[in-house]
């Protein structure tokens, strides 16, 4: 009985001490929040600009080949093309080229007769065409290398400047695009340029065939 009272007597101040300690700690915590913090946190929210995704829908390049101008011989043609890829299938192309023409057989045989001046003999064209990629796939060059390829059908309208006049011209053709790299393409193109001309007496429809190879860059 005695010992239990002793324990109680000893425990009471201990309890009191613990309680007062807790109270004082609570008080200091309360004081801390009321006082301004010693170190001001300097964390500002940053606006992160995510990197842009580069889009490559435009294609630009040059070409060279041979062009046959009806009655006026076959000559070297050179030009440039610019394309915008609308979907994986469809693309819009603007192209322009120029070539020289030769005297007709009639001019050569008759000797003196000249149908055109030197300036009029120059043949230049521009056209606006819509193309569609068919047969996309891979072409294998050797055993280890595969290039993406596509065949495209293309047709459109344009203007031909030849023999002193501008002529409305339809063009129709087919081309092959080989892509050694994502941004580099090699083209082989066959195109028929159709227009009416009345230079040799009566108006007739001429088909002028062009075959060229070219290189283009996507950007």
């Amino acid at each position: 009985m005695e010992s239990r009272r002793l324990v109680l007597l000893l425990a009471l101040p201990l309890l009191a001490a613990v309680a007062s300690g807790c109270a004082s700690r609570r008080q200091t915590v309360a004081e801390d929040t009321s006082r301004p913090p010693v170190i001001e946190p300097d964390v500002e929210r940053r606006d992160i600009e995510p990197p842009r995704i580069d889009s490559e829908n435009f294609e630009v390049g040059i070409f060279a080949g041979q062009m046959s101008v009806e009655d006026f011989g076959v000559n070297t043609v050179a030009g440039a093309r610019f394309a915008y890829h609308i979907t994986e299938g469809l693309f819009l192309e603007v192209a322009g080229g120029r070539t020289d023409t030769e005297p007709t057989s009639f001019e050569r045989l008759s000797g003196a007769a000249q149908l055109l001046t030197d300036e009029e003999r120059e043949y230049s064209y521009y056209n606006l065409s819509l193309g569609y990629n068919v047969l996309p796939g891979e072409g294998f060059i050797g055993r280890r290398r595969a290039w993406n390829t596509a065949l495209y059908l293309i047709g459109g309208v344009g203007k031909t400047k030849f023999a002193g006049d501008d002529r409305f011209t339809l063009n129709l053709g087919v081309g092959a695009r080989l892509m050694p790299l994502d941004w580099l393409a090699v083209h082989a193109d066959f195109r028929d340029h159709v227009f009416d001309i009345d230079l040799l007496g009566r108006e007739k429809r001429t088909h002028n065939l062009e075959a060229h190879v070219g290189v283009t860059f996507f950007f």
Binding site: P51, I53, P136, V157, L199
Partner: protein, 247 residues
Amino acid sequence: MRSVLVAIALLAALCSTVAAGAERRHREVVIEDPFIELHTGPGRGYPVFYVAERGEQVALLKRRTDWFKVRIPRGQEGWVHRAQLATTLTPDGAPFELPGFSLDDYAERRWEAGVLYGDFGGANAISAYGAFALTPNLSFELWVEQVLGRFSDSTLANLNIVHTLYPDRRWSPYFTLGGGSIHTEPKATLVATDDRTDPLAHAGAGVRVYLTRRFVFRAEYKTYVVFTSRDDNEEIREWKAGVSFFF
């Protein structure tokens, strides 16, 4: 000797900046679809050569039409269709919105350009235009047009104002009013007549149809009055159709 050293140092510096430039950051996304298919090229016809699973983080390198070139952590690079990336997440778990143009952007367009082909009083007409929108309804357009006919060729330049009735809908009619000038050159094989330049005015109506991405179909009918130096003014009817893009 010193100049050679300086040149080499400069070249080295240039090379290092080029290398730093080449090491650009790319947008990273986490795959949310069960898997995505990597094609060898940007089109449905190119074979699938690899499949990346849900949870993998891929870098979006570039885009061509609706195809994205991605690089997966193991280093393979291939082309993925937009549809398979539509549900991807950003690395911190937020849904990732693929950049692109939609009908909403179409309604808020400022700049527009296009090419149209049609018939100008029986002759073939090829035209191009650029437009600037002052308000969603009202825009200014500058046209250049080449008319190639049987007896003469003409070049037109026009400035017109266009009122679009429903700029935020997929289909919308519009009305146009404007003026400009026409330069006509008779064909060289005809009996010599002089080139002439006359002012002209026009009114017209048309329809614009939003197709996809930046791509709009447009068809219109216009009536031109050419104020010739002869006794009578010339009236010409024109219709044309084509495609345009907006920025």
